[in-house]
Point group: C2
Chain length 344, copies 2
């Protein structure tokens, strides 16, 4: 069977290829009538316009790379999808490049700029501890998306899209305190992590301080170096160690949803109930928290909006419409079955 091409469609419709193209792309310069006729022929012949092949052909240097740390984290899945859509809608080629935890993202970016003639870059996830001079070596526009940035870098040198980790973390712990909990454990990242783990612990401490609850360092549980941080397995192990320790607690705040799921399972495995014996809250707003049994209280990050804003800023930078921008999104506390009021 011969594959139907755009030329065949044009011929069948008695119009030019560019008219078919306008119909497909919903271009204003085409009458509704002609468009409807063409779309019917397209449907009838099961013709699928191959956008990707078309883009690759026409626009070989219009490439934008998304450099991602921690690609396993399901948190990034929805963002990647939006990046791809937004970038391809603007007729740019989308490249996804993983960065290993021991790689220098700026070195990788510099090489990609050279080899792939990139137009712009999105750095996604992880933390950034580069010097200003290093950032200035990047000769194309870039945006840091959901990246914790060290404070001492002049904000004129980069653009960013993020949430306020301290404030969102404060929100969730404040909610637990208001529900009567005052022995709240936190499952955190590595002790040397200067990034989101540190910021979320900061928010945790801030909320406890507000409620005049003294901080018990034994309830701050760091990930040990031989384990991956934001995983269900790590949440399970940290909660298990906590249960086996002599520390008393009535609630667990895990700094990511995956860890919260692991913590739930550890508690259920030892015959305890959620939220009757322990309240559990997570962070991120993954879909699975809604499907887990019990459903899990969490802070939902508006990931789709954040990804869209990232591309908006990026294209404004490409088109030289703006200077560097910094956009902070608010999270949403979603209270579900896994947390409840502490009964005396």
């Amino acid at each position: 069977m011969k594959t139907i091409t755009i030329k065949d469609i044009a011929q069948k419709c008695g119009v030019g290829v560019s008219t078919v193209s306008r119909a497909i792309n919903n271009h204003p310069d085409i009458s509704e009538e002609t468009k409807t006729m063409i779309m019917e022929v397209i449907k009838e012949h099961n013709f699928i316009p191959n956008n990707s092949a078309r883009n690759l052909k026409r626009l070989d240097t219009r490439t934008i790379a998304v450099l991602i740390k921690d690609i396993d984290n399901p948190f990034f899945q929805k963002m990647i999808k939006v990046f791809e859509e937004e970038i391809q809608n603007r007729k740019y080629i989308f490249i996804l490049q993983r960065i290993d935890s021991n790689q220098d993202e700026i070195e990788v970016a510099l090489e990609l700029i050279k080899e792939k003639r990139l137009k712009a870059i999105v750095f996604l996830g992880g933390n950034f501890s580069h010097q200003e001079g290093k950032l200035q070596e990047l000769t194309v526009p870039f945006v840091l998306s959901t990246i914790a940035m060290t404070d001492n870098i002049d904000k004129h040198f980069y653009s960013s899209v993020s949430i306020d980790d301290v404030n969102e973390s404060y929100k969730v712990v404040d909610y637990l305190c208001n529900s009567g909990h005052n022995k709240i454990a936190i499952l955190a990242g590595y002790s040397w992590d200067e990034s989101i783990s540190k910021l979320r612990i900061e928010g945790y401490c801030k909320a406890l301080n507000k409620h005049e609850i003294s901080i018990n360092n034994n309830l701050i549980r760091y990930t040990s170096k031989n384990r991956d941080s934001h995983t269900m397995e790590n949440g399970y192990q940290l909660a298990k160690e906590l249960l086996e320790s002599k520390e008393e607690f009535t609630a667990i705040y895990a700094i990511s949803d995956s860890m919260a799921i692991g913590a739930c399972k550890a508690i259920l495995d030892c015959g305890k109930s959620i939220p009757e014996d322990y309240s559990i809250v997570g962070f991120d707003g993954l879909d699975i928290t809604n499907y887990y049994n019990p459903s899990i209280t969490t802070i939902r990050q508006p990931v789709e909006d954040m990804a869209k804003e990232t591309t908006n800023i990026l294209f404004d930078l490409i088109n030289k419409k703006i200077t560097n921008q910094h956009k902070i999104f608010g999270g949403e506390l979603i209270i579900r079955q896994s947390s409840g009021r502490l009964e005396d």
Copy 2:
């Protein structure tokens, strides 16, 4: 601050750059003593050998692309990680390219071969319904990994790594029948899906036939066209519709774990118990099935081994050591809390 380079390290150690490189890469041609000395200097100066940058520089045409359909499916996450490691270990550049469900993967591949001068391609996920002639247009070695291929293509024209969907599906339904279930619903993909959904339904029917259970078409629940197939939401909706119908059943077999999770939640939401009221089984072996409450019975696909074998075949093809190969892996039935014996 000047960045430390491999030259600086070599100078400080009083050795050549190639010796430092050998130390980093754990090459056998270097004494333990020299290696230890060099690694200490590296550590002292916080030098991070930048593999990626090095690869990009040296080997700009040695690129291998993984073209993936359905990137949201968590099933592929572990495979992508293995692909990246295996490809980078062999000093090739790894590119991940998404294919939309309405895109023609071969057209995209042909453009990538031209634009990026690819050495080889892995097609990951989805189904393949191309003609032989189309496959022969691909001028570089390629392997179809976890892809359902239409039977009428000569196996000399491609290599593949997969599981036997019919047989694995048979296994899980046979287990349910042996546990006393004879009213087993299946949550499937689209009714027109000629790919894994069809094959897994085939295995389901085969097992029922063996147990002399007549097939009730009302218990075969297809995904409606306006929903994504392998999602928790879809599993939830399909199970809910099933519960609201008049059909009697005692077990649900979902053809993917994500759908099984949704089905569990639907059953729990309507106040029923798992496995006391309904047994649930999934397919794939996602980590979450072990952490869900209850943990979910599933068929585990050996995804890491399958990804490794895919790259092994690919590099053997690149090095012209072999002709096209087809490797079928076995799955493992993991019985967990979500399924049990039907009591009379």
